[in-house]
Symmetry: C2
Subunit: 566 residues, 2 copies
């Protein structure tokens, strides 16, 4: 398709370059993270010449995935490196422009897969900003000094409090539909309707008005929380930040934990991390993630955990799992299925969960559990078939048991294997499986699994802390199939071959429907209703065809639409 | 695209043929409706040579829109013509086959617009079966005597109780994904996950297993409610039907009301009904529906209403509105916006609502209100921009006020017009706006509208029964814009021109997101998550391309997939 697709292809072929989700503030090109006491300010100052791909400039604080990777990194660092921060202020360094949103030429040139995965990641980052407020005591303020268009306004919508300068020109807008024939794809429609509860006819007017809404009407229609004269803007932001800081329950005295660079070795066949590895069988289109249980018992006390910092196994593993999932999503598009395996001592994993339970009120433990929650949600939302193979020597216990529970299917071996003297496969549940890791639907994976039979959920609860063998696990409904050694190889092989033979698109749609039974939340609405409609539109000639709005934007020619309503 | 697209084009050009949603049992080609005491049986016996379009035969009880139009008609008649019915049994007249689901060759040849609208209508029909059970005291049983595949099983899923014959061969299945690279598009995935609460890994296995699941496992996995040996099948169905009938609160003594044929005249420029008319401005891509208020006051008592039967204004109008909406959806694809106007006395409309309130417990009133609920939901789900123009002489009161509330925008004229001596525009609310017509999200249109401000909902409640002028209506938040005569023409014209200039696809996606704020239900999940993903898949080359699964089905050649997961 466009230059971006070629760029990705070239990167993949070279094997030297790839989309990397690891960065740090010293390398940021688009953001400045400033911390002043309990107030952090993230200043958006996109370097227009530092786009992720060739073929477009990031003018007017427009963004691509590279800009958003830095934003996501900064927010993680706020959590871990700056535990004293109680308020986040988002600002722009550009005069009279907050952000022009996702870069249009990038969108016009990107492959469908890149567009979809770009939107998914940016959505996850914005959900992370809301999680900051809801669970970490960091309220956020968006200070809009001029134009906040499209994704620029959607970023504002993820904050708790939107302040718009009142200068007769500054406005918020979602011009995607009139300008580009696509939807605001980063939660905009859902947050307008469900978070800010804008009346539907006002929302209709707003989303079809290219120039947006400004001044008093923006407040009346609930699109922003306050309009402030330019002369009083800084003062008003500071006052509001101070007020939010005073309301926060976040610790102010703790010193943070440095998120040191992940140690990774990329080879042609996979990536080697410290707590896990991934192997690609490209012919079979399978990525196998081998999870390694902790090599040492948990520290005796919370202080020792802080001293370990990013080396503390639960934190290290969560960060590495996050990175590998994103790597597969963006750089290994041909992977049909992700297979989770593990090696280690389930009792050691349970010991770490007990340590986290014991220290649940510690700020670092809280952040680690919240990180785990977000990483597991990222797994749920990954459009690859997910399968866990539970074999002798594995350690799917407690937090790690969320991986088979997040999988579309799990297979567990009954008994041992000939010539293998490791103990038979066992899984184990812990308190961690019954609360701290809700899915996007607001329920734990076990509660979602046992929607039909709450009694089965209670029964599983009674098994916490025990090593559960394959046949019991199947009886309890915790695994899909318990198989003996004779059947194992064939069953697993046939399943994985079958998965690779199916239509990738139909699998994506099916999994998106079966994984999220039960209630819907704003978050699940964004990833279901909004995303699915946007993906549809991203396939329609009216948007992406040669005469479509995305292709014609900026050419001086109007798009030509197929006028049939579908 | 295929032959169907050509067929539709040919029909449109001839102006003589069109997809007609009106039928009656004497004309059925595919179903037999038998009523025996309080048990109704609908026997599916599809005539394979009576397909709606050319190019395919309806083998093995496979269906197209024509088959489903008869099913929808039969269910409406059960409600109105057979008030003594308390149980509905769905059966097949074909040996060892219940239904093969939606006809694959029909799907392969159909235009995208036809596929989408076909799925929408079949979904609405299945929701109607569930509404029968939930609100009309008619529980339904599906008796599966053999294969129930795809849409065949999805039809079963809409019933309360699924009985499967246990003969070693009969099975339920959703083979769409492995066979056709599409989703089960008629609620299957949602009902498996959310109605029957099948465990997600079981659902994954089921939905990827072409041959489906039979016997004991079908019960264990909650896919059916009972398996019964063939020799006892009829007896078991009868016993279950009798049991359900005994539990029903539905009246058994009332005699029904005949749903007489709608009187319609089709011209090139529109359709003339009795209680409304539609005019097409094809250059502007606008359909204007002119609603006529009742010409006579309501009868004095319920008996007189029964005597009026299908001539009773609320029933007649609901049926005609339903028909015209379906006509626009399927036969007038180029219409960008539906404009509602009305003429009549708002006090007369309120009088009808009071009559219905007074007789709320009467079976016929209950069915009329339920019909209204379903028709208004059909309006909500129609992918055309909806706008109401409230002008002097209009009667958007009570039930009819749901039309502006269902619209994406409403415009109301302040005061009168020069040379027009009709009274200034007024709208009025009634109890009917606060309960009996919930949207798919489970909330009334007013509650959805005022999500942000429940106080506004209470305030509106206080205005019931009053004639509300334009400025007051705007202040109360009931209309989008109140305009005076000077601005009216320009504002409305510019809006409608703008709407016709936007991408039809982007409008569909935007409206689908903004119309349904608040909670999600199984129904809204079907029309959002499931439908949007299916529409996406219906656009993907892996399904509809020359090498895609739908095109290659039955050719002896396997589909060739683009293997990238998106």
């Amino acid at each position: 398709m466009g230059q971006i697709d070629q760029a990705v292809t070239r990167q993949r072929t070279d094997q030297g370059v790839r989309i990397d989700f690891q960065t740090d503030p010293a390398r940021y090109r688009h953001w400045q993270l400033k911390v002043d006491g309990d107030i952090a300010t993230l200043v958006m100052d996109v370097d227009e010449k530092s786009a992720l791909f060739e073929g477009y400039d990031l003018k007017l604080n427009s963004y691509d995935l590279g800009v958003d990777i830095e934003l996501a990194d900064a927010i993680e660092r706020l959590r871990f490196e700056h535990p004293g921060v109680r308020v986040l202020v988002l600002r722009s360094a550009k005069p009279r422009v907050f952000s022009a949103g996702a870069n249009i030429r990038m969108l016009a040139g990107a492959s469908h897969a890149h567009k979809v995965n770009f939107c998914k990641f940016t959505n996850e980052t914005r959900n992370g900003i809301e999680d900051l407020s809801e669970n970490s005591g960091i309220k956020s303020i968006c200070a809009i000094n001029g134009t906040a268009a499209g994704g620029g306004y959607e970023l504002a919508l993820a904050t708790d409090y939107i302040m718009l300068v009142d200068d007769g020109a500054a406005a918020v807008s979602l011009p995607e539909l009139p300008l580009l024939a696509v939807l605001p794809g980063t939660g905009g429609l859902t947050r307008v309707a469900d978070k800010r509860r804008v009346r539907r006819d006002h929302a209709d007017v707003f989303c079809t008005t290219e120039e947006g809404v400004k001044g008093k009407r923006a407040v009346e229609w609930r699109l922003v929380d306050a309009v402030v004269p330019g002369s009083k803007f800084d003062e008003a932001i500071a006052a509001r930040a101070k007020e939010f800081a005073a309301q926060s329950g976040r610790a102010t005295s703790a010193s943070g934990v440095k998120l040191t660079p992940l140690m990774r070795e990329f080879t042609d066949g996979g990536v080697e991390y410290r707590t896990l590895a991934v192997e690609f069988d490209r012919a079979a289109r399978i990525a196998t993630i081998l999870v390694r249980g902790p090599a040492a018992p948990p520290p005796a006390a919370a202080e020792a955990m802080v001293a370990l910092g990013a080396e503390f196994w639960p934190l290290k593993f969560a960060r590495e799992l996050d990175d590998v999932i994103l790597h597969i999503r963006l750089n290994e598009l041909d992977v049909a299925a992700i297979v989770f395996k593990s090696s280690g001592d389930p009792n050691e994993v349970l010991a770490y969960d007990r340590f986290l339970d014991t220290n649940a009120q510690h700020w670092l433990v809280r952040e680690i559990r919240l990180l785990w929650k977000r990483v597991l949600k990222r797994v749920d939302l990954t459009s690859r078939s997910l399968v866990t193979l539970i074999e002798p020597g594995s350690c799917f216990a407690g937090t790690l048991a969320e991986l088979p529970l997040a999988s579309d299917r799990s297979y567990m071996l009954i008994g041992g294997r000939n010539g293998d003297n490791r103990p038979p496969a066992a899984i184990a549940l812990a308190d961690a499986n019954f609360g701290p890791y809700p899915m996007a639907n607001g329920l734990t994976r076990l509660a979602s699994r046992f929607l039909a039979a709450p009694g089965d959920l209670e029964r599983a609860k009674g098994e916490r802390g025990k090593l559960i063998d394959a046949e019991t696990a199947q009886r309890l409904g915790l695994v899909t199939f318990a198989l003996d050694d004779i059947d194992w190889d064939d069953e697993v092989r046939v399943f994985l071959e079958e998965r690779a033979s199916f239509s990738p698109d139909a699998l994506t749609g099916m999994e998106a429907n079966l994984r999220f039974a039960g209630p819907e939340t704003m978050e699940s609405k964004i990833f279901a209703r909004l995303t699915a409609w946007q993906n549809w539109i991203f396939q329609r000639p009216n948007a992406i065809g040669e005469d479509g709005a995305l292709k014609r934007y900026g050419t001086g020619h109007k798009p030509a639409f197929d006028t049939r309503r579908v």
